[in-house]
Symmetry: C2
Amino acid sequence: MAKKLDVLFAHNEEKAKAFLGRIEGKKPLFICTIATTETGKIPGLSAAGANPDFTDFTPPADAELLLLGKCKSIQGVPITPDGIPTPGLITMSALHLADIPVLVVNGGVKVKPQIPYVDLGGNSGRDIRTGDSVDNVEEVVERAKVLGQQLAKAADYLVIGESIPGGTTTALGVLSALGVEAEGKVSSTLPLNPHSLKSEVVRAGLKAAGEKFGSLKNNPIKAISCVGDPMMPALAGLVIGAVRQSPVLLAGGTQMTAVLAVISALDPIALCNVAVGTTRWVTKDKSSDITGIVRQFCDVPVLAADLDFEPSTYPGLRIYETGLVKEGVGAGGASIAAMAKSGVTKDQLLKEIERNYASLMSLK
Amino acid sequence: MAKKLDVLFAHNEEKAKAFLGRIEGKKPLFICTIATTETGKIPGLSAAGANPDFTDFTPPADAELLLLGKCKSIQGVPITPDGIPTPGLITMSALHLADIPVLVVNGGVKVKPQIPYVDLGGNSGRDIRTGDSVDNVEEVVERAKVLGQQLAKAADYLVIGESIPGGTTTALGVLSALGVEAEGKVSSTLPLNPHSLKSEVVRAGLKAAGEKFGSLKNNPIKAISCVGDPMMPALAGLVIGAVRQSPVLLAGGTQMTAVLAVISALDPIALCNVAVGTTRWVTKDKSSDITGIVRQFCDVPVLAADLDFEPSTYPGLRIYETGLVKEGVGAGGASIAAMAKSGVTKDQLLKEIERNYASLMSLK
């Protein structure tokens, strides 16, 4: 390694370093998987949109931001109810600095993005309290495998992120169904992590499905169908299809642990060539515990981009340091990929983020 | 060049050789663009399906064949009314031998393929005799440009083929609207090229649109909207988006000349990094004249895979030598790409095609 990259090793340091070594200087393809659910609209659960109904527009708008540098489905960019901009800003800045190509994959959205996207035959998800949240899980997994196989031949490695509001609650749902202790451990975009609401929603979902903690340990497809979201079959399939050909960096926070648990149940060997790439804000978060989830069922390494917005001149960015938003749209993994590909530093990245922030929020 | 490849230079030999030199040993991405139209169902016009109504299933089935090695939307593989198998067999064999990745792009189909595909917001086309054949042309071109930009970053170069029944008639339509003399020059899957029927259909389309030969010379978007097909905006956009980053091999016969004419009218500089890659069966065809079309408006080189099915043990393949089918699903361009990437010879390719033919037609 010619110089030290701004990447932290949050879990399984040895494997994390080896993974970083494997991707350094290589050419990745970034995949943004989008999905929406009615779960994401439960009041108080997600901040990925100015209000609950707006969450249908957040994933397509994030995807547009990455491909076009601006949104088409909404004015401006997605924001939290407090006006904090989408972490997609970090992702677009990282990908641009390192000239990393992007492909958008539709796991299942209500509002279609106004850009090219790969369709996998998935639909937007229902409220998990119905116990019947996702259609067509097995078929989407199969199609995503086929896509992952092809894309892994085209790029040196894949970086796969997500934009799905309410995704940590569905993550808790699937982790619980699979018997992984994750209550109080999943992350949140909100300043106060609504753990008890998430647990209540998941309990209602499992009950409605006639399931309980761990009862779907050997049936991850059904776990997603009952209490998961449409991002999960897309991501799990992509990883399983790709890893025999190339490494995969799962770009996200605690949501990715549910994807890991699904893969671990479907095809555990596939985890040998996978790492999670997130942000320092997730790994240092006191209201969640990503490594506490991962280590229960696998030794996949967790890397974190050492992002630091404290020096920013913009209060809207500095506020990330208070623990809001933290991650999303593959922000951490895209940053790691930009660092690994082109030696981008966290300072260069912050400058580019500030430039894009100012221009998109029309601050100059 | 270490050894002579089985590639012929059919037009603009100097540029053709230079293009081949640029792609030799490089890693391509093959894109199969699918589309359907009601034009393709006019009796006597196309043989890309066992009967006219079947043409809706040919493009999705071809795409499935490339990604899965078998079709899902139909039993067996697409055939002509005479039972000749789809040229997609050639394409899948070439891509497999050289381990070339595939992405399917949906320009606009009636029957969606049961595999992952990129959606560009296009619809299946109407009969061009209405003079109003394709929706949403400008938007599809724009989205395809965005996709082309990204894919050109991911691969060393792009090879872009098509599967659209009736495509030479819509090609004649757009070439005529743009003022290119193509009557009697477009190719056909049929043993007897139905030139007069094609001309009649195109004349009816131009009349219905209130246009005439050459009247849309400066409006290629409208030319496609009136008398074109949904493959064209997808391909033109992909090329324009990609060529500033990487070379593009347009994998097809005379249909590709309409795409070239559209690009020539939209963004002529984009043609500098483009070649047409087809089969020997197209370039030696006496009932069509691909170079006679191309040389009217550009100096894009034409390369041809020197395929020869004469030595085949299978009559269903030997019949290609009588001039049936000739090209489609990017067969010629995929063969050239396999030869350029891995030094695949025409003999090796025929062996692989025979193997796949026997297994898919259940001959052994």
